[in-house]
Amino acid sequence: MSLSEFISMGGYGFYVWMSFGMTALLITAEVVYVKHQRKQILRRLQRMAQLNAEV
Amino acid sequence: MSGKSTMLRTFRVIVMRDLTLAMRRRTDLLTTLFFFIIVVSLFPLGVGTEKAILRQIAPGIAWVAALLASMLALERLFAGDFQDGTLEQMLLAPQPLSVLVLAKVVAHWLLTGLPLVLIAPLVGLQYDLSAGSLGIMMLALLIGTPTLSLVGAIGAALTLGLRGGGVLLSLLVLPLYIPVLIYGAGAVSASVTSIADTQPYLMLLTGFMIFALVLAPWATAAALRISSE
């Protein structure tokens, strides 16, 4: 199964790869977003901790 | 005074209270009704006034308009009582809360659901519906709108006192209205071919109403307790 066959997927490449592409995109986006959200929360909590420490 | 009769008396008093309250602010009554009429009258202007098309889309239009109209009026169901503290007193009444909720929903239905049924002939006129179909539409609305009010009350209780509550309420409640919409509109479109065909639709709508009558007040009471903590 050569690469070009693999990509063309018997003429339905567009549909197959759009489906798989969106799945991969959303899953990675979700993981990245949750990790980013975690960093944000931790940073905000640290800043609040400092503020409370100073007061 | 046995429990049963105080419950009935409270039920009657709450229904009468809401009706007198509505009578004292007559304009609120008409808003729901005119919203329904306007929405129904808009479609022929958009879709075109060709009789055959209108007759074909009439069931769907009438029912979607009924859904939206009854859903719009829901926001006022508990909002007034929530603001002036009477809802708290109802929560603290030594009566089962679901009975009080049922009373309020019945009053709400009498003020918004029933007028939709009575105004249906106007839709029949505009959409050139046959007498049989019109009769079935009124009957279907009569059986369907209580379910809309009952299920909608759950959404109204959940979104009590929230900013942007109206839009949120529609987002929560409209998906739950879908079965009533499908069989309500289905009944009317089936009535075009033969009235006998509409019998299963009406049975299903009655089933939904009974199901909602049993479950919705309990769920609304629970939602009220959560919302007014």
Binding site: - | R24, M90, A93
Partner: protein, 205 residues
């Protein structure tokens, strides 16, 4: 007899109070003190069953109010910040509905007497919308004259009242305590008692 054992309440993620215990016996007036935001209203609302406390138990005559359910509500009257009256209804209608909700048998005459005593003679068939804030509060207080519930929970009842109404309310409170009633009250006023015994509870650290 109301007994509250190590109750903890929190709003959002802030714990208002922790492991609070006290009891109120017939003839007691419990005066809740504490600065604003110390959880007085939340404590009152959890006592009357509106708010679900995080932990701890509230018992009425040694049965938890959760199990009593609606029977407990027959014993309690709660007067919160809101008056609990409909503006479009007349004072008489409001009181009749409140009485029916409480399951009491009251007739026209008793309501009229209550309204007269509370100083609203002649106002009883006007929609409460036209009344002043103080008069609306009086309509809410008139419910105390009509109710048969032994336990009164009053949250800042003296707000928006003029001096004559304050004296009247003090008198009503004294009468209720003398008749072996129970009151839990939050107020910045001092309530002088002739009979029964006043207790204090300080909230907030």
């Amino acid at each position: 007899m109301l007994s509250v054992s190590n109750i903890t309440c929190s709003r959002g993620d802030r714990t208002l109070f922790r492991d609070l215990s006290f009891s109120v016996a017939p003839g007691d007036l419990l005066h809740l003190k504490g600065k604003n935001g110390s959880g007085k209203t939340t404590l009152l609302r959890s006592i009357c069953g509106l708010f679900l406390q995080d932990s701890g138990e509230i018992h009425w005559n040694d049965t938890s109010i959760r199990n009593l359910g609606e029977d407990y509500f027959r014993e309690v009257v709660y007067l919160g910040h809101h008056n609990g009256i409909k503006d479009d209804l007349t004072a008489e209608e409001n009181l009749t509905i409140a009485a029916v909700l409480d399951g009491d048998e009251t007739d026209e005459k008793q309501i009229r007497i209550a309204l007269e005593r509370i100083g609203l003679r002649g106002y009883d068939d006007l929609p409460t919308r036209v009344l002043s804030q103080g008069q609306k509060r009086r309509v809410a207080l008139a419910r105390l004259l009509l109710t048969k519930s032994p336990l009164w929970i009053l949250d800042e009842p003296f707000t928006a009242l003029d001096t004559s109404a304050i004296d009247l309310l003090q008198e009503i409170i004294r009468e209720h305590i003398a008749a072996d009633g129970m009151i839990i009250i939050t107020t910045h006023q001092e309530v002088a008692l002739t009979a029964g015994h006043a207790k204090q509870l300080e909230l907030g650290n």
